[in-house]
Assembly symmetry: C2
Homo-oligomer: 221 residues x 2
């Protein structure tokens, strides 16, 4: 049996590598949308396989570490959080693929309007993900806590995008299909922000042993 | 320390109870939509708190069982699957709340068209969830495997709903807001089906020790 600490560090690295790929995937999916770049969108879709493999790898590492050791306290929390962060990252990868698919559909129709606040919403979401992963690397609960309020900002940007798109569609029915795609892109970005929030909450739990989901009271392991 | 087997059985029961509540929540959210019943929709929204508390409870049970025992093989798999199924169920509860919120919005505007295939899609999704929870109760991988193909049927129903709604919107721009709500309802039902598929895959892993996600090769614990 290899040393537990070494394997934990490898797990940590595997999560960070997966996080970096998911970050780049989200960035490229939105870039493909803005630049109407079908090839970039296709690369995002191809990356999904790598992300899925990484998810299986992280789960297998956690299962092995739980089976061969008796981790307690902080180490046990890390393993449980690894499973959760893994699920969140994989799901963000799926959402980026959905954005990329919509970018391809949108690249085939005339651009009806600037993309409203979509790029701004995307850069806010990317920043949230970057900071939540950073808080995981540094095991910094204060940094993680700072990610949470941005979720409200994302939600209000999404609401603004929705109402602008509704207006556009009602004025000009021919743009309905394109507007629907943009609406789902906003929805996907909002979901990515939710998963980012999950990661930040997990980091807080990891560091402080306090479950902040659903405004839970202290819930120490 | 209480007997491990007793605590495992209690965990099992907690998951089933949560599953039953999520099932009824999904059913009521769609019923509220069909009957334009705002009160029923509000009850769904209230139930979210109970589901969230159940999620925290299941996580706490798993963490305690992992910390105080050294589960291996089947028991370890059960605990890891419990964490995953827990996340899926909680997320389905969120999606049901979103359907209920849209049911409230829709109950305030004139019904523009029958709800197309939405009720049919919903009953298919409810059936998937029921069977996947049943396969968990019975630890029946064959039953779980039978849930998986229904996901394709759900996806094609969603595609049909999307294109019918697109057509309706382009013919009559005044129905755009209502049609958008129905589109997101279809999207939410499709996502619920995805989570149901996750549960079925988890049951297969639990029983057979084989990870069938992403068409993974055998991945025994």
């Amino acid at each position: 049996m290899r040393h537990f600490a070494v394997e934990l560090e490898e797990l940590n690295q595997a999560i960070l590598e997966m996080g970096a790929l998911v970050e780049s995937t989200i960035h490229c999916s939105v870039q493909a949308l803005v630049d109407r770049d079908e090839r970039m969108a296709l690369r995002v879709i191809e990356d999904e396989n790598r992300i899925n493999q990484m998810e299986l790898d992280v789960d297998a590492r956690v299962t092995r570490l739980l089976a061969l050791n008796q981790p307690v306290a902080g180490d046990l929390r890390l393993l449980i959080m690894a499973l959760k962060i893994n699920t969140d990252l994989e799901r963000m990868g799926d959402l980026a693929v959905n954005i990329a698919e919509r970018a391809i559909s949108l690249s085939k129709v005339p651009p009806v309007k600037p993309l409203i606040d979509t790029p701004r919403m995307a850069s806010l979401v990317e920043d949230m993900l970057h900071r939540s992963l950073d808080s995981f690397v540094k095991r910094d609960a204060a940094l993680a806590a700072k990610v949470l309020p941005a979720d409200d900002e994302v939600d209000s940007l999404r609401d603004r995008i929705y109402s602008e798109l509704l207006e556009v569609m009602q004025l000009n029915p021919t743009v309905v299909p394109a507007a629907i795609h943009l609406m789902f892109v906003a929805r996907n970005l909002e979901r990515i922000a939710d998963h980012t929030t999950n990661i930040a909450e997990d980091v807080i739990f990891l560091v402080r042993g306090i479950d902040v989901r659903h405004h839970a009271t202290e819930n120490k392991v």
